[in-house]
């Protein structure tokens, strides 16, 4: 037993408990502090303190810190790729619409929220393609000129839009009582989950033109979207299957007892509950999809990482490797971290709502 020593003030006591409770703990804590200090001090110096923020060319980067001038000079390219400058308002407009729709739908008090959600999902994607690609009054901007963050978001969102319904259908198919459908679903899911995504993107780029009838050209970007969509659909299917399995049998049985047919049961009873359960897993898959969009680099589609690499090839900005990769990496990190935090907060809210 320790002798009675004067009690430490609150926060100091917590510090002691958490960091210095035992002798070993103290050593470990000191070691950690040392590591943190050794790593973060040079990092902060390079990132912020000695960094160059102002200027227009390479020569303005005089100190040894990061040359953020490079990022500022090429910021538009990182965001839009080679999208023609006079048409960039279309990308901005689409972005604003999407953000507005997202914000509006996240407000729980929105009247007729379900209808608006369905309407958004049905209207916004085709509208987006019209705005980005053109035609019917807007100047056509070919997909080869799209690039940067805008392209990454396009890939992730549109591949996701195809993958989610397809994944749900596959998950339902995997649990179907019709043996053929079940077999076909299992084969499809296991096939696309078992191959590396790089090979799928190669496959889509090389094979899609070959298997289409002559003269039917599949746009290069569309091929990448389709390839990604198929793979992610397989992973989504497994995520949704988890939700379907977690749903108590009683729900389906009760619905059937009420005389509802298969599709009614699925649409009105099973899916709403199952999707709510599997939402965290589905969000994880979407985060993975977002990260996997970098693979289109292999087929020379210039997403955010591709634009970063292309910018490095500019002879006017030699040696900016770290800045370019750190900037692009930071964008990915914040986007993915944000998504996962949103998913976690939703999960918590659901747990409270269900009284668990």
């Amino acid at each position: 037993m320790k002798t009675a020593a004067p009690p430490l003030p609150g926060w100091l006591a917590v510090l002691r408990q958490r960091l210095f409770a035992t002798w070993l703990d103290t050593v470990v804590s000191l070691l950690c502090l040392y590591v943190v200090w050794r790593v973060s001090v040079p990092l902060m110096q390079w990132l912020l303190i000695e960094a160059n923020w102002n200027g227009t060319s390479r020569d303005d980067c005089t100190s040894s810190g990061a040359c953020w001038v490079f990022i500022r000079a090429r910021f538009a390219q990182f965001m839009y790729g080679l999208y023609p400058v006079p048409e960039r308002w279309r990308v901005d407009l689409l972005g604003l619409l999407a953000v507005f729709a997202g914000a509006a739908l996240s407000w729980r008090g929105l009247p007729r929220r379900q209808e608006i959600m369905v309407a958004t999902v049905l209207i916004l994607p085709p509208l987006g393609i019209w705005l980005l690609y053109g035609g019917f009054g807007l100047k056509i901007v070919e997909t080869r000129e799209w690039g940067g963050l805008m392209l990454t978001l396009f890939l992730a969102i549109y591949a996701g839009l195809i993958a989610v319904p397809l994944g749900i259908l596959l998950a339902l198919g995997r649990r179907s009582r019709l043996p053929l459908i079940r077999f076909a679903s299992i084969v499809f899911i296991e096939f696309w989950r078992g191959v590396p995504i790089i090979t799928v993107i190669f496959l889509a780029s090389l094979l899609l033109p070959l298997i289409m009838p002559t003269g039917f050209n599949v746009d290069r970007l569309a091929r990448a979207v389709i390839g990604l969509a198929f793979v992610i659909a397989a992973y989504m299917a497994e995520a949704v299957r988890g939700g379907l399995q977690a749903l108590p049998e009683g729900q389906t049985e009760a619905a059937q007892a009420l005389g509802l047919g298969y599709w009614r049961v699925t649409r009105l009873i099973v899916l709403p509950q199952a999707l709510r359960i599997s939402l965290p897993a589905m969000t994880n898959e979407f985060i993975a999809l977002f990260k996997n969009t970098t693979l289109v680099l292999i087929v020379s589609i210039f997403d955010l990482l591709g634009i970063a690499q292309a910018a490095l090839a500019d002879p006017a900005w030699v040696g900016m490797n770290m800045e370019a990769y750190v900037f692009a990496g930071a964008i990915y990190w914040f986007a993915c971290f944000g998504l996962s935090q949103w998913s976690r907060s939703r999960e918590k809210r659901l747990q409270i709502a269900h009284g668990r």
């Binding site: 390219q77 080869r144 033109p209 003269g215 290069r220 020379s300 490095l312 500019d314 002879p315 030699v318």
Partner: protein, 323 residues
Amino acid sequence: MIVLHARAELDAIKARGHIECGVHLGLPGFSFANDKGEWTGLDVDYCKSLAAAVLGDSTKVKFTPTSVQQRWAVLQSGQVDLLSRNTTITFSRNATLGVNFQGINFYEGQTFVVRTKAKVAAVKDLADATICVAAGSTEEKMAADWFRERNLKVTIINFQKNDDAISAYDQGRCDAYTAGVGALAGQRIKFKDPAEHQILTEIISNDPQGPVTRWGDERWQLVVRWVLNAQIAAEALGVTSKNVDEMKAKSTNAEVRRLLGVDGKFGAMMGLSDDWAFNLIKQVGNYGESYERTVGMGSPLKLQRGANALWTKGGLLFTPPFQ
């Protein structure tokens, strides 16, 4: 017996309104896009000439950058009408990939770039070195064969893209990077410090490069071939973008008159308008002008004509007569 249906490429192009040209991902001097997306280079000029000849306007062409790996698939699938990206003509490519080469627009020679500090005088001094190269290029096989024949050991590291190979060499992963003399002169600006590097003068192989088309459409291949010949013929006949109007009006040389469409309906024979050659010479220039502007003395690359001069001037370029 396999019957190949002509795909009427020319009609498709006219309907589409522009030519789809497959080019390099970024090779200064040959096909390179600046950060505004404007393409320049010898191979780019060729495609622009094609556009001027077929559609009357050298700006009616769209460029698709392709890596060494993707170029064949992009051509075979029909996504582009031709490849104009410093591609070397080889037997196996001709025989197994279903592609044809329509002439030579640049006589390349393969050599190596090394660090000046390494004091390499000849290629054989690179024994035991590590060499970076783009996978799937003729340079890869040629370098391997050359060193093997002389019983010298080298380590060859191949990369998916030329730019990856160059930056790996620059970072010090390899002792040397191999490509054609012309290509190296262009890639030089991508090094962190170009002064530290030296391009060897010894050439280890002959790489004739030219435009590439798919099998199947003879009519289109005809156009591709004769547009290249027209560029060379124009230089041989002394027709430049500056004097082409005057030449068309006043020349008495029979071949010039046929070339510029004054006599004979040569354009119509190919399915083009009769001032196909006139347009391309006026808008882009003859071979010599294009060369000087993109890779020659008027460009940062400063390559001599060498083998790329006319046969009358000691080079290898000549063209069948326009008769």
